[in-house]
């Protein structure tokens, strides 16, 4: 049995962040019947505190300050450290996000603890243990640590979201935080210059375009404009999220034609993202092991490719269609548009 703390910066509107309730379930597993406290930090955490009612939380620790509205290392580290220390918890669990990933290691260092990230599974058989990936999702290890406090960043999907089962709202304790004068000002968010958001984490389908879209076609010429139209049309009609192979996004740096709506943010694979969508469709991709890691968490996978021996698709995809992606996509777009219209 361990004293476990769930640590979560709240959203700008004060709500619990996505993933917090999954992380709470993971915290309960690790606590193995012991108490689970929750620590919230943000400019205003009222809605998040309310959302914790009936979830069996022993206590809510709160750090509220206007300086905690945005994710900024110095202020987040100060607040999270104060909350972790106030809790006295042996294990600190946080849902992985850009904000927690920025600051969690620093918090572990400040509280004299250790950290493990990208936690994909938790268990408490014989003591708290976690599973995580090494070598970019190519080797999986299960481990436990002797050192405490132990800070854990848990990935989405680590456990089902905790559900309220009734009961009183947990007691709330405010923790005083000394936030250092800021040297960093967060000035806002910037979306891609193309004006069209093609990364959609909530989409049910990941559509991955490979470098083949910009290569010479059957007539001996490349057709990047047609490819761009087909891909954009598919994204609009299907609502899919767009991923890319490294070779395609790297073309910008090599002076070759590159799609305006695509950047390194779209890249999946060894040096890109490892997104989580229920389904994935790859087109014109020929990568092998480096590309496969980007698909580790895609459950159903299909590919359209001219190469029946494609090293990435065989053994990694459920279905490989040996066909011209231009022709297939054109017809798919027509079918999807007709479906929408009908």
């Amino acid at each position: 049995m361990e004293d476990v703390l769930l640590l979560a910066p709240v959203e700008l509107d004060g709500a619990l962040p996505k993933g917090a309730l999954e992380a709470l379930s993971a915290a309960r597993v690790l606590a193995a019947g012991g108490p689970v406290q929750v620590a919230l930090l943000g400019a205003s955490v009222g809605p998040a505190v309310q959302a914790l009612a009936g979830l069996g939380v022993a206590k809510v620790l709160v750090a509220e300050d206007p300086a905690l509205a945005d994710g900024r290392y110095a202020s987040d580290a100060a607040a999270a450290t104060a909350l972790a220390k106030a809790s006295g918890a042996a294990v600190v669990v946080a849902p992985a996000s850009s904000r927690t990933s920025r600051v969690a290691a620093g918090v572990a260092e400040r509280i004299g603890g250790r950290i493990d990230t990208h936690v994909a599974q938790v268990s408490a058989d014989g003591g708290a243990a976690v599973a995580r990936w090494y070598y970019k999702q190519r080797i999986e290890a299960k481990l436990r640590r002797k050192e405490r406090p132990w800070v854990l960043l848990v990935d989405p999907g680590v456990a089902p979201a905790a559900r309220a089962e009734g009961g009183a709202a947990p007691p709330v304790e405010r923790v005083a935080v000394s936030i250092p004068p800021p040297r960093t000002e967060v000035t806002g968010l910037r979306a891609p210059a193309s004006g069209e958001q093609t990364i959609r984490p909530e989409a049910r389908l990941l559509f991955v375009a490979g470098a083949g879209w910009t290569k010479k076609q059957a007539d001996g010429k490349p057709h990047p404009e047609r490819a761009e139209g087909l891909i954009r049309g598919f994204l609009r009609a299907s609502g899919a999220s767009l991923g890319s192979s490294k070779s395609l996004v790297d073309q910008a740096g090599e002076g070759q034609k590159v799609f305006a709506f695509m950047s390194h943010l779209n890249q999946v694979g060894q040096t890109g993202a490892t997104p989580r969508h229920p389904k994935g469709l790859a087109t014109c991709c020929h990568g092998e092991e480096p590309h496969v890691v980007g698909w580790r968490f895609i459950r159903e996978r299909r590919a359209v490719n001219l190469d029946p021996a494609c090293g990435w698709a065989r053994g990694k995809a459920d279905v490989l269609y040996v066909a011209d992606a231009f022709a297939v996509m054109e017809r798919m777009n027509a079918l999807l548009e007709a479906k929408k219209g009908g």
Binding site: D70, R72, A77, S98, R99, R102, A105, G106, E109, R114, D116, H118, Y134, Y135, K136, I139, E140, A141, K142, L143, R145, E147, R183, T184, E185, T187, G188, L189, R190, A191, P192, T198, R200, S238, A252, E254, H264, L265, Q270, T271, K279, E289, P290, R296, R302, V304, A313, K316, D318, V319, Y321, V322, A323, A327, V328, M329, M332, A334, L336, K339
Partner: protein, 270 residues
């Protein structure tokens, strides 16, 4: 900012991504089968951080790039033969294991000590660069731990862009959820920047840069102090390659119409 930046890049070697990796148990903890024989490259994120460092140094006169690397000396030498051709740098090498199963905290202790020992270190000019991920441990924590040990409390992760503003402030773009960037302005050094992949291409090999670098790199490798790092208090309960082989159905003779219909039906299913 008149004297330029001291840009310290932390990065080490990883197995070439095209290699098949297989874990083995050793008395020191898990390792890779034939690890010493696997061809190595500079970690892709660290390499990008290095290229960004060189790009920034080229724009700000008086800047200097130092690569601090903890890895097996022989592997570092092999990798530096290629990396040193790319950008002007000074190497500080630490001779120790670079495997993914070593503990980030132990590595951070060694790296922070090496950075603190750099001759003429000036916090007012220091930018600590590295990758926000790695292709080995992949925890994305070593850089923050080193930053904390150096008492640098302006840290950024998933950085895609840095721009020097008038007055010396730095505008930094960090990746956040939903394919967006968080834009921050930090007053100036010291700062920690964990790089994503940005948009800079890999620099072409330049033999003149290579020759100039190797005059310093080889002595740095020769005097690399031993830096043993282990797995700390981690007990590995199991280490395995996931079973990922799927039975792929190959559809060779279907028309684009048939394939499109099948795919649309598949996409539409819950």
């Amino acid at each position: 900012m008149t004297a330029g930046y001291q840009i310290v890049v932390l990065g080490s070697v990883v197995p070439d991504p095209l290699q098949t990796l297989e874990p083995v148990a050793t008395p020191q903890g898990p390792a890779l089968k034939n690890e010493a024989m696997l061809p190595a490259v500079l970690d892709p994120w660290a390499a990008h951080a290095l290229f960004e460092a060189a790009n920034l140094a080229a724009k700000v006169p008086g800047s200097k790039v130092t690569l601090v690397s903890l890895g097996p000396k022989a592997k570092l030498q092999q990798v530096m033969m290629a990396v040193a051709q790319k950008v002007p740098l000074e190497l500080v090498a630490l001779d120790g294991p670079a495997g993914g199963f070593t503990d980030a905290h132990e590595v951070a202790v060694r790296l922070a000590a090496a950075v603190k020992a750099l001759p003429g270190l000036d916090r007012g000019r220091l930018l600590l660069f590295g990758g926000w991920e790695s292709a080995s441990r992949g925890a994305g924590v070593t850089l923050q731990l080193v930053g904390e040990r150096l008492e640098i409390h302006d840290q950024f992760q998933g950085v895609d862009q840095i721009a020097v503003q008038a007055g010396g402030a730095l505008e930094i773009l960090e990746r956040v959820e939903g394919g967006k960037h968080q834009v921050s302005v930090v007053a100036g050094p010291p700062a920690v920047l964990g790089w994503a992949t940005g948009s800079l291409p890999e620099p072409k090999n330049n033999p003149q840069i290579g020759m100039a670098n190797m005059r310093q790199v080889m002595p740095a490798l020769q005097r690399a102090p031993a830096a043993p790092v282990g797995t700390a208090g981690v007990e590995f309960l199991s280490v395995a390659v996931p079973k990922a082989q799927r039975e792929t159905r190959i559809v060779k003779d279907a028309s684009p119409d048939e394939i499109a219909r099948e795919l649309v039906e598949w996409i539409s299913q819950d």
